[in-house]
Symmetry: C2
Subunit: 696 residues, 2 copies
């Protein structure tokens, strides 16, 4: 690394006012109670735990983040593995729970080569293995004796699981399965932790018995030698190469040439092949998986709030420190204005500040609903088994609610991850030129997050499931058979009032805003139902309508969840009046800004008038921006993201932006070790090539 700068450079300070002074002013002008709000968002215990783990990580040299941006991929992934190993060692030393390791991973903030082992591999073994298989695979995997991955996606097949080409053929002669890749497109692809790390894989393959295909099933397959870590014979495996982000993860490919595995390696909790009869034994309860996906997607919604919060924290603090131009109406020789004071910056950042809160409360709401329902269903199943009480009815009600949660979680996953992903890029651009520097902390974070828009269901694909569910619900409601859930309720409410028309008071009444979002969703649903059922339009021709429909429902749900959170007794009682009132402003800004962006659907469904939209745009939204502006820094402070985690010169909590940018550029940047020979006629690129090579 370069030498320190000369004394005359070290003596320089940024022009006044200093960033530290500006952030102090920002915090002084707001009375938001940062600690109380932080506890409300994350709980006191979680924040305490985060502090403890952070102090452990900071003292470990391997987690030093200053090298992250300068390494090539080959070096980057080795460092990531070293970090993954160290985390496991720390887990043992400090007796950390799995959840604690999760917190540590969040603080380190990069994908680790153990990622898919620790998540999908372990979960699949646990959920789909028999007790015998738990002993054989799961327990060793938990101890990292077996390192695994979950191999579903193929080179030619992503979302369409039924199209998978890899086969598992039951060979009754020696009671084995033959795992085989018949084509190049059958190659497993994108599989996290597979490329260089895993020695086992759960492989999803088409099960064939006696020539008949029983669809995709999970098989545990050893792929590398436990000692040498070399691929086994008839296994071809490797890393799929550099990606837009996620380069600390070894996403891999995998091909099989008629590899034999024993009978016990088919995960058999839900389906199996009977060794005695060579017969397929049917799955027990496939709908259980349904629940897991719902939970995973609700979690993505919750996380989306936190993901966005990082970008917003950085951008809000930096835009309070950055000053550029005088206000045009100000007197001559006025000081340069903080960028955050410009309305064009506020309209980009403050709705995202509102959205991060909205997504957080929505994710929380979804997960609470899901867990309550799981509890109820467990009790009902118990009652059913013991033949007492209203077991069956409650089971049915529970599964109705689960179906509703499943569908809505699809739409919300799409909306939330798109909002977070695109929102991060808005934050980056709001930081102007310096946003493009990796020292901003936004770019790499954005690049690593982007896969979330594609995995666990591509965000566009998912919207079909939402629309299908809405159409089904609408048909039931029209037939007088609506179930007791929120979706049916909003469809019924629309039908009951359709002739009278809507007259929502979106500017005066918060509940009416929620009702307007519900109305628009119901209107689009019945309109689309007419296209499909009456006009018999093709499914394909309606995909765009379905996407609109899913977006409408999901926006309604976020607005509703945010509204309910802001008005919940829990929150109202824990916050002082001013903080509660600012939270309400955030709700209104989120809802009305969304409504403005989607104005044409609100018009055409007659949920609002042109005049209402005009007022929203030119008067109400600007007023809300003014209300929230003074609290912006404290509202991001409340999210309690440690500086070490942010790793951002722009987003430092102390506002000392420019010295940090300068220090990183001048002192932590190995490019400055290179002395170029700049003349085109000299072949040598460097004047100090020998010196540089010897450092490697």
């Amino acid at each position: 690394m370069p030498n320190p700068p000369p004394a005359w450079v070290q003596a320089l300070k940024p022009a006044s006012p200093q960033g530290t002074e500006l952030l102090t002013q920002e915090r002084a002008q707001s009375n938001i109670d940062v600690d109380t709000l932080g506890d409300l968002l994350h709980t006191k215990e979680a924040l305490k735990k985060q502090d403890e783990i952070l102090s452990v990580l900071k003292s470990e040299k391997v987690f030093d983040k200053s090298r992250n941006h300068v390494l090539g991929r080959t070096e980057k992934i080795q460092l990531a593995l070293a970090r993954g190993k160290r985390l496991q060692q720390l887990k043992k030393a400090h007796n950390w729970s799995d959840e604690d390791v999760h917190v540590a991973n969040d603080l380190v903030s990069e994908p680790t080569p153990y990622g898919l082992h620790a998540s999908m591999f372990l979960v699949t073994l646990r959920e789909q293995g028999t007790p015998e298989q738990h002993k054989l695979f799961y327990e060793r995997a938990r101890n990292y004796e077996i390192i695994g991955c979950y191999a579903q996606t193929e080179l030619g097949h992503g979302s369409n699981v039924r199209g998978l080409e890899t086969t598992a053929t039951w060979d009754p002669s020696d009671q084995t399965f033959i795992i085989h890749s018949p084509t190049l497109t059958a190659s497993k692809w994108w599989i996290g932790s597979l490329g260089r790390t895993a020695n086992h894989a759960v492989v999803m393959a088409q099960l064939y018995i006696g020539g008949k295909n029983y669809g995709p099933h999970p098989f545990v397959v050893q792929i590398r030698d436990m000692e040498t870590h070399q691929p086994l014979e008839n296994v071809y495996v490797g890393d799929i190469g550099p990606k837009f982000g996620y380069n600390t993860m070894d996403n891999g490919f995998l091909l099989f040439n008629k590899l034999k595995i024993p009978h016990v390696n088919m995960l058999a909790r839900f389906a199996q092949v009977d060794k005695a009869t060579n017969k397929y034994i049917r799955p027990a309860s496939p709908s259980l998986m349904y629940g897991t996906m719902t939970w995973v997607r609700s979690n993505i919604v919750l996380q989306a709030g936190g993901v966005l919060a990082r970008g917003v924290t950085i951008a809000v603090r930096y835009c309070a420190v950055r000053r550029q131009f005088q206000d045009r109406d100000a007197k001559a020789n006025a000081e340069e204005n903080q960028v955050l004071n410009y309305k064009m910056v506020q309209i980009r950042l403050l709705p995202l500040l509102a959205a991060m809160y909205a997504l957080h409360f929505t994710g929380r709401g979804m997960m609470r609903l899901y867990e309550e329902n799981q509890e109820r269903m467990k009790a009902a199943a118990q009652a059913d088994q013991e033949k007492r009480g209203a077991g069956p009815e409650q089971l049915r009600a529970g599964s109705d609610l689960l179906a509703d949660l499943h569908a809505t979680s699809c739409g919300l996953k799409a909306l939330a991850s798109t909002t977070a992903g695109e929102g991060l890029e808005v934050c980056r651009r709001a930081c102007g030129g310096h946003g493009y520097s990796n020292y901003s902390g936004i770019g790499p974070w954005y690049a690593d997050y982007l896969p979330t828009l594609t995995w666990e269901g591509d965000n566009y694909m998912l919207t079909q499931q939402v629309a299908r569910y809405l159409l089904k619900s609408a048909r039931a409601v029209l037939a007088g058979k609506g179930t007791a859930n929120d979706t049916s309720r909003i469809l019924q409410a629309y039908l009951a009032r359709r002739d009278k028309g809507a007259s929502f008071d979106i500017l005066g009444n918060d509940a009416d805003i929620v009702a307007a979002f519900a109305w628009r969703t119901a209107h689009l649903t019945f309109e689309t139902l007419k296209y499909r059922d009456v006009e018999k339009r093709s499914w394909n021709s309606l995909l765009i309508n379905f996407w609109r429909l899913s977006t409408a429902l999901s926006q309604y749900l976020v607005v509703k969840n945010f509204y309910e959170a802001v008005n919940s007794p829990e929150i109202r009682s824990s916050l002082d009046k001013d903080t509660a009132s600012t939270l309400r402003s955030l709700f209104r800004l989120h809802a009305l800004h969304t409504l403005d962006r989607e104005a044409s659907e609100f018009f055409s469904s007659a949920a609002v008038t042109v005049r209402q939209i005009g007022l929203t745009q030119t008067s109400e939204v600007p007023k809300l921006l003014d209300e929230i502006r003074p609290h912006a820094v404290r509202l991001v402070d409340s999210w309690k993201i440690p500086d070490w985690q942010l790793d951002s010169a722009l987003g430092r909590s102390d506002g000392d932006v420019y010295p940090d940018l300068f220090k990183r550029a001048s002192m932590q940047n190995p490019v400055n070790d290179l002395v170029f020979d700049p003349y085109p006629w000299n072949e040598n690129v460097l004047k100090n090539a020998g010196e540089i090579k010897s450092k490697l």
Copy 2:
């Protein structure tokens, strides 16, 4: 690099149908004349030249692209310099023009450390230097004896040039300028080619004479030794560190500690300090720079079409090869459907296909207008000087048009670069999971392009200039003093018809679509003028309105330029009927899709009715998608982007997507040389660490 795969892997083929077959079918179902359309877009000569240069580059090992994705920044930038040097050598060997080198750079497709030397440094010396300075600096710079950069932006100061802190103080005692950085925020920052490459810089600094500030002026400053390439004393210079993209460029920082430079180093064509009197001599004609910026921005508009075309070419071809799911209305056991057949994919990609043509024709139109006007003004100036004819009036008309061009080029630069940047990300996502691989060719291209949204005027900042011009024009029109340009014309047309109202036939008449865009722009202009002049709202409170206004004007201009191109005799006569008709469908798709996305402004200005928007959305746009779909592959083929330039496994012109992805991952990916030790209790990350190290 890894060994070749075993024989059983090499024998594998993708599942049928092959990508090559699918693209052959695509091309067979359309009769678009690819060569004629290609010539129309780029000219036959340019395409021929591109081929010649391409074949030279392909034969040079240093330009091999397979290493691009795997190098760390330190290695990447050395390779980029080596490539830059080689291009200069090839230029000499093949007698290439500057334009030819530009073509070569486009084919190589990465920023080069010589980039800012070859553009802004040379241009500034040429445009702002005196003949004496040309000899002293420009001629040596053209020969790469001097390597330079253009140092304007500072750590604390971007768009606001008047806020620059670096000073150049005239010292009459020894007739030198003292260049000084009074603070840390005065550090030059983001300066391309400065970090490691340049030995000179044009430094923009506040000129002080006798204690008085005369504003920012350009000074040529030597910063590094011509032999050792070490920084001179009292100069602190370096690279600013890793960025989201553009990592092959050494954007740099630069600080001065009272460095003395001779009088001749102030670029003196437009302003100078008189040595005899120590007096400042006023700038001759600052409005000339005005023209340069207009030209630069028009060029960005034109380029934006080509930038977007790369993403669309890749995504359209890949989505024609990629198959996923059966059509839901198809019979059971139907083959999987090409992704490009799904309406939800079409609505994302085909409007971008239309936009790339729209931006291309708009950029062309702008540049033609600009050049015609320059010619006319030159002639008028000549006439004026020789005191004959209508010199003065024509000069005034020319400068009116130039002002119009300047303002519209600001708005168009913002719209076009945003469209291209965001469009590339849409293309990447439309490629699903594989879009995230760098082998898609989209991600790094997108990351390198993003600065365009910020530089040459931040896209949000620029919209204020457009709005200011529109308000000024509206005031003039209201006062009966409108000038003879298009902006005044559309404002006048609106006023003339405002009471009668608009009744544009957007579904039946193409010219009416253009008129509807003009109407909406004029409506927003007068509405905003009312806020500012009658209601006296603050400038800051109107920034969001200004942005909307600029977007509306720019969208109108793109729609208008595209309309005029499609209907121009030149194009109509050179294309066969079917190609011309498809081009018209592209125009209609671009215009109506834009109109649909901005529907609420078209409603509220009463340019269209709710019913018209409904029909656009549910009937006209889907019809246009159907019309264009069969021609999609040929329409991107016409852009004639060589495979070598695209460097994309997904966008290969032969459609052989999967074998290419597989080859790159397995054979060109050094991560596959690493043998991990996967167990957390073993400290070593690699089992073959010795072997790997010795390879470095």
